[in-house]
């Protein structure tokens, strides 16, 4: 099988889709490689061929739609380093750069891609809670053409998603943000919030007259797939985010979590416990950013 192994370099997405269909189910797309290559090194994964996506220009877009006035487009092959450094992923979308820069090793930040983080589907994927809180939509392309899917419908289970055979994630799209909309991401990890998430919380909201509105809260590493927590969102809507309110929101998030009994990183008890301060911090930080953006806007 080793001698049959092929590395295929397409010149465009359409060609990538054709090549991927030609090599069949025992082949695979490869993005940054930070997950696939170690698994190949360990002999856990032996594809008969890989189709390279990382250098396709169509997947390397990071830009506003509509000439700078619309939402954000983030190509699947944009790296965490590019998200971390780009001025475009600040302001309303700061939770994204919070998440990308929370990855422990600079080496993985430089090499890992946004598309790989979403598609690989590990329950602790750092970019997924922020994208859920920002109501991201995915643009997918396959042999039967293009389709769009909200991220929340894309994730099916751990390491499982809605991608059909040979389909490529092209980009993530975020709608134009309301004025003063802000977001934040917090996670617990072994080393000062860096490394694989024990649990994570992303919050997005708009602060108006001291009250939080359009609140969205999504959690990672504490449910089979990252998801929004409607109970906490409904509770927070229209409230002043004081200490008591934040604490209550944290408890609602902890109660809705479904941490795995056999997680190697922390017990369900610990994950629930740590979700409380993570929620408090994420919501408080998003509210503080919204306040800062509005005072800047009024200058």
């Amino acid at each position: 099988m080793r001698e049959a192994f092929e590395y295929l370099i397409p010149s465009c997405v359409d060609e990538a889709i054709v090549l991927r269909r030609q090599i069949g189910e025992r082949g695979c797309f490869i993005a940054g490689g930070t997950e696939i290559v170690p698994r190949m090194n360990r002999g856990e994964f032996a594809p008969i061929g890989l189709v390279e996506l990382s250098r396709l220009q169509e997947l390397c877009v990071l830009d506003h739609e509509d000439g700078g006035h619309g939402g954000l487009r983030i190509g699947a092959m944009i790296t965490h380093a590019e998200v971390e450094r780009s001025p475009l992923t600040k302001g309303p979308w700061q939770a994204l750069s919070d998440a990308s820069s929370s990855i422990r090793s600079p080496q993985a930040i430089n090499q890992g891609t946004i598309g790989g983080n979403i598609v690989f589907g590990v329950p602790s994927a750092d970019l997924v809670p922020p994208f859920l809180a920002l109501e991201a939509n995915l643009r997918l392309k396959g042999a039967n053409g293009e389709r769009r899917l909200p991220l929340r419908d894309f994730l099916v289970g751990p390491y499982r998603n809605q991608l059909q055979d040979g389909e490529v994630l092209i980009e993530v799209r975020l709608s134009k943000a309301d004025e003063n909309f802000a977001s934040a991401f917090c996670k617990a990890a072994k080393y000062r919030g860096l490394g694989l998430a024990i649990a994570s919380v992303a919050a997005a909201l708009t602060l108006r007259e001291g009250r939080v509105h359009d609140v969205r809260i999504a959690i990672g590493a504490a449910t089979p797939v990252p998801r929004r927590i409607a109970e906490a969102e409904a509770f927070l809507e229209g409230k002043v985010p004081d200490e008591r309110v934040l604490r209550e929101a944290g408890h609602l998030v902890a109660a809705a979590a479904e941490p795995r009994e056999d997680s190697i990183r922390a017990s369900p008890f610990y994950k629930r416990k740590v979700l409380v301060p993570l929620t408090e911090r994420a919501v408080a930080s998003a509210a503080a950013r919204s306040r800062a953006q509005s005072s800047e806007g009024n200058k």
Binding site: N41, P106, Q107
Partner: protein, 157 residues
């Protein structure tokens, strides 16, 4: 597969097996053994090299995926027989014990100093967060990087 790589300023044309990592091509084909094979999974940083100036774990990237790129390994730091200020500082501070992590530490530190000539202690720690040292010489390593940053800025004056 035939690929071109520029390693430490020197152009190479190589015929590599497509499932071989950049690390193994550097070590086995080019005999550059400063990048170490340790975890083989992007966890430890001992195989760190610079790809287009960015620190990358060479065990997590296939050689074919690095084609046509500029690679710098720890062997590329010394110039004309003179050690790089980072290497001198590592010796002065006793930042090496077994030395297995050193190639990766030095290249990761070089990526930092090329981008940020005046890092804080915390920024040095952040830049080396992907590199493990099992002799636990972290304090000496961080001191050495800060010292080298001072030296490099002095050289520019």
């Amino acid at each position: 597969m035939k690929i071109a790589l520029t390693v430490n300023g020197k152009a190479h044309r190589l015929d590599v097996s497509p499932d071989t990592t950049l690390l193994m091509v550097l070590r086995d084909e080019l005999r550059l053994i400063g990048a170490k094979r340790a975890c083989d999974g992007g966890e430890c940083g001992a195989c760190t090299v610079l790809v287009e100036g960015q620190a990358i774990s060479s065990c997590t990237i296939l050689a074919v995926a690095a084609r046509d790129r500029q690679i710098v390994t720890v062997e590329g730091l010394a110039k004309d027989g003179n050690l790089h200020p980072l290497q001198k500082a590592f010796i002065d501070h006793g930042a090496l014990q077994c030395g297995y992590c050193a190639g990766g530490m030095l290249t990761a530190a070089k990526a930092l100093l090329d981008r940020n000539p005046t890092p804080s202690r915390d920024q040095v720690k952040r830049a080396l967060a992907g590199n493990l040292c099992r002799c636990a010489g972290y304090q000496e390593i961080i001191d050495a990087v800060l010292d080298a940053a001072d030296t490099l800025r002095g050289d520019l004056r």
